[in-house]
Each structure stands twice: as C-alpha cells, then as structure tokens.
C-alpha cells in the first residue's frame, strides 16, 4: 500500500470507500470504550487518527493457521477493516499482500532497513527453536532468524494470538518442534502480548490506536498483556453470569437448560479461569462469541491452554495415574470409604484382641 502524497484527510479518504464521518467517529468511540477510556478521550483519538501518521506495520506469520489474520479480515461490512487499513501502512503481510517471492521479502527488508526503530512488527504463530529452527522457514530463512531481525529493529512488537504469545498449539505437549512464543524466542524487545485463539481484532486495533494517540503502548500485566483487554475475567463479564449465581446450569448438551441459555459451568466452561474481554468485544464485529453461541470457554487466551485447560468439558483437570475418566471426587469418595472401612476394621480387631486378653486373664 503506497502512501498518498496529496493527502485528502482521513474523512475524505474514507468517504471514497463509502465510510461516513459518522462511521469514523463511531469507530473512535469503539476504540475509547475498548481501551476503557472515558468519552472525553474520543476527540483526542479522532485528532490523533486524523493526523494520518500511517506507521508502517509488518505482519509476520510463523507456525500459525492464519486465524488471527482471518479475525482481522472477517468484517461483515467495510468499516473497521477499512479504517485500520487507512490508519496503518501494512507493508508486509503474507496472506493479503500483492507481491510474491523475492519482491515480497524485499519489501519486508526495505521496511527493516529504511524505518529502523519506527515500524510496528506483528507476529502471528509460534517460533520453533529445536534443531536450529528448521521447522519453520520463510524464503529460505528460519522463523527465529527473521523474528530476531524484524522484531529486534522494530519500534514495538505485537504478538497476536496464543501461539505468538505463549507457543500455543504447536507448543502443546510433546511440542515436537520446540515451539515458543516471541517473548522467549527474542527476549528483551518491546513486546505486547495479545493472546487468544484467535485474538479479538478490536484488541489489536485498540493497541495501535493507543500508540497513535498517546505515543506509548498500553499498560501491561506480568504476562505482557494490556490491562484494558486482559484485566478482568470472562466469568465476571459473562452474559450467562446471572444463571451461574442463580444456580441454573446446563448439564447436558441440548438439555432444557442449554436451550434456555443457562450457565455452562458444569460443561467445563473455563470462563472463571480466563482473563479476556471476549464477552464485551466479541468476534466478527461484535456478532457473537463462544459462550453466546452455547459452547463453554476453553481458556484459549491463557498460557499453554491446550495442556493446562484440558479437559475442556470437565471442571477439574485429570489426575495423573488414575485413568482419563476418573475425577478427583470419585477418588475422594473412594478413599473416604476406604478410610472408614480401615477404621472399622481397626475397631473390630481391637475388640477381638481385647476379648482375647480378657479371656487370657480369666475374666
């Protein structure tokens, strides 16, 4: 995407794509709300986006499924996606860019060389570290090699999706490729983690808008996640929460409770374990999200969710060595019964022994 020298201003530019000023202001309002900013910040965001700084952005894909790209592009009407493409200069994105082969790789290297320290790098997918990183190569270079150069020279790196943030599904046990997230692959860089499988696109946009408005990246927690999106639990903002507090639970798929939209807690929903703003921003421009669609949360935004959140349809993890279907409670009841039986046996043995002693003494 080339820069427009004769810049007509963002409103005119968007109007050419059928997006009104009103839509643009609505977008700025959405961004302020996503960032948990009061409405007084909307004019500030409008002002910042009107400057059309158009920072260069390169989007790297490693061990991924392009799910986060899909999340970004899966717009039902040309508003958010178009606005994003108008405020950013996406110079490299394997899935949507026009050039191919050497030209494509050249455009990436041009950004790294010419805009050193000024561009934003987005990483999607995990980085394999085993055997010199041979398990993921793009244009003859290993993912770790590309990541070191591109992320190392970037103003900031955004890890989108759980794979880029924590290693995700490629890093799930037994992790044959030694996959890790960007934080472990390229330590020491300015990084923001936006985990999720896939990430809600509003969170990527809001992170960039925060940078354009305030000149800094949003505040992050100990896992490098921005507080505005990962500061609170899914469970605490869930639309089914009232059913949880009432004690109305789905017990089987398709049962009466399920048809009434009751709480999915008993079906193993990981909303109480997962920090993300899914219930608020949802997916596909606020159309729906898993719990609204009737399926429990699987905790996809938590570290190593494939291993740590399994089994997805049970409340508690498996107890190692007791078989797949055995839950902690079954073991608990079994052991309690065994303990009671043991005590009863002890009591009987004691009584018999006592009787023997009495007989010995001739009582």
């Amino acid at each position: 995407m080339s820069k427009l020298n004769d810049d007509p201003g963002i409103t005119d530019s968007l109007a050419g794509q059928g997006i009104s000023r009103r839509d643009f202001i609505k977008f700025c309002t959405l961004m302020a709300a996503t960032l948990s900013l009061p409405s007084s910040f909307i004019p500030k965001i409008v002002e910042a986006l009107e400057k059309k700084l158009k920072p260069s952005l390169v989007w790297l894909e490693f061990q991924d499924c392009a799910g986060n790209t899909e999340s970004l592009l899966r717009a039902t009407k040309p508003t958010v996606a178009d606005i994003i493409l108008d405020i950013l200069s996406i110079d490299y994105h394997e899935t949507i860019m026009a050039p191919a082969g050497k030209q494509a790789e050249k455009s990436l290297m041009d950004v790294v060389k010419n805009q050193k320290g000024k561009y934003i790098a987005v990483v999607e997918g995990s980085i394999p570290m085993k055997d010199g990183g041979v398990y993921c190569c793009v244009g003859g270079r290993s993912a770790i090699d590309i990541a070191k150069e591109v992320c190392g020279n970037a103003l900031a790196t955004i890890s989108v999706g759980s794979c880029a943030a924590y290693g995700g599904i490629p890093a799930a046990n037994p992790n044959p490729t030694g996959a890790v997230g960007v934080k472990d692959a390229v330590p020491g860089i300015t990084l923001i983690n936006l985990p999720g499988c896939p990430v809600n696109v509003e969170n990527i946009t809001a992170t960039v808008v925060h940078y354009l408005t305030f000149g800094t990246l949003p505040a992050t927690d100990r896992l490098g996640r921005p507080y505005f999106a990962y500061g609170e639990r899914i469970h605490d903002h869930c639309e089914r929460r009232a059913h949880y507090d009432a004690g109305q639970f789905v017990r089987e798929w398709g049962d009466e409770g399920h048809r009434h939209g009751w709480c999915l807690y008993e079906m193993g929903c990981k909303g109480p374990e997962t920090f993300k703003n899914c219930p608020v921003v949802k997916y596909n421009e606020g159309t729906s999200w898993p719990v609204q669609a009737g399926h429990g949360c699987i905790g996809c935004a938590e570290p190593n969710f494939w291993d740590t959140m399994a089994p997805f349809y049970k409340r508690l993890p498996k107890v190692p060595g007791f078989g797949i279907e055995t839950t902690a409670d079954k073991i608990g009841v079994g052991l309690a019964a065994a303990a009671a039986a043991g005590l009863a046996a002890h009591g009987i043995a004691r009584a018999v022994k006592g009787k023997d002693e009495k007989e010995e003494k001739g009582e």
Partner: protein, 222 residues
C-alpha cells in the same frame, strides 16, 4: 485397688472455642465448597440465588476459619503447656521413641504406651500435617478468590501461586486437600472415641469442659 483420679484443666477456653469454630467452619466450607465445584442442586427460577449464597457462605466461613486459626496460633504461644506449638514437633526427649511405640501400638505390634495429659506425640504430628493442609487450603483458596480483582490486595498476597500453578491445578489441589482433611477428621474422631474408651480419662468431655481425669501420679506441672 481404687485410686481417686485427679481433675486437670487441660484445654483452655481459646483452645476449645477455636476447636468448635473450626469444626463448624470446616463443615460449612466442605459442603459449600463441594457445591461450588459440583453444583448438585439446581435452581429452577431465575430469582433464586443458590450459587450466589453458596459462594457467599463459603467465603464468609473462610474468613471465620482463618481468624479462628490465627487465634489458635496466638494461643500456641500464649496459652498453657498443653496448647503450646511445641506439641506439633515431637522431637525432644523421649517423644520420638514414644511416637514409634504409639504407631506400633495402633498396628497391634506393641504394648500400650503411657499417654501424657496433652497431645500424644502422634497426635501432635498429625496436627502438624493438618496445619499444613489448612495452609494449602487457605493459600489456594485465597489465590482463586483473588481472581475477581487481579490488581487487588489478595492478588498481591497470593498471586505468586499463579507463577507456579495454573488455575485448574489450584482448583484440583483445593479439592483434593479437602478430601484429605475429610479422612484426617474421620481418623481424628475415631481415635478420640477409641482413646476415650481406652484411657477413661474423660477425653471426649475434655473438649467441651476443658478438664481431664488422670491418675494422681501423672505429672501435670513442669
């Protein structure tokens, strides 16, 4: 040969009080906690608040339990010699030897040891284990409780647990330790009834009244 038994004040009021507060709070915590993990009762009206009340009672009982434990821990230093923390560590004097004899006795392999007035060595060691399990429940419990506000006080106090364990693992530990406490309580009640019958020292009554009855030659003062 009849001997007049001596009446000794063993369990002071704070010991008995915290014991019964613990009994009640553990009972309430176990039942409500089990419900929170596995909601066996279902509400049929939106206006009901079953899980809400269960969680409220669970968290309130947790506070009661923690305060009760803190009082008991204070009394382990401020109370009489039978309430002392030293009973939890049967490592001094003839205690290790008595501990082994006591274990063998319960397995019908040794003669009945002479029990003292306070905690026997095996009882002391068991209460140490129970205290460790209490700590596990309190730490995992408050860590999970802290999730409702990750920038709050409880998260700064107990949030370090999430660096070691994942939330589902904490839930599992909290669950399994509850069951371990159930067994230990079963054993505690059984052994209390058993020793009460064996020693005829009024052991069962002592946790209500504080007094035990011992032979006059038993040493009761240091």
């Amino acid at each position: 040969m009849k001997k007049l038994l001596k009446r000794v004040y063993v369990w002071e009021f704070p010991v008995r009080f915290t014991h019964w507060v613990n009994v009640l709070s553990i009972l309430v915590l176990s039942v409500t906690g089990y419900y929170i993990g596995n909601p066996f009762m279902h509400a049929y009206k939106e206006s009901q608040y079953v899980m809400g009340w269960m969680r409220f009672i669970h968290f309130t009982a947790a506070y009661v339990f923690v305060v009760s434990l803190l009082i008991r821990l204070y009394w382990a230093f401020a109370g009489n010699k039978y309430a002392s923390w030293k009973a939890l560590f049967p490592v001094t004097g003839d205690k290790p030897a008595k501990l082994i004899q006591q274990m063998l006795y319960y397995a019908f392999l040794a003669e009945k040891p002479r029990f003292g007035v306070g905690h026997s060595p095996l009882a002391g060691l068991t209460y140490l284990l129970i205290l460790v399990l209490y700590a596990a429940e309190i730490f995992t419990g408050f860590a999970m409780y802290s999730l409702y506000n990750p920038s709050g006080l409880y998260n700064s106090m107990f949030g370090w647990l999430f660096l070691i364990f994942t939330t589902p693992t904490l839930r599992l530990i909290h669950h399994i330790v509850m069951w371990l406490l159930v067994y230990l309580i079963l054993i505690h009640i059984y052994v209390a009834l058993y020793v009460d019958k064996l020693e005829k020292s009024g052991l069962m009554g002592s946790i209500f009244t504080g007094h035990k009855f011992v032979y006059p030659e038993v040493k009761t003062k240091d």
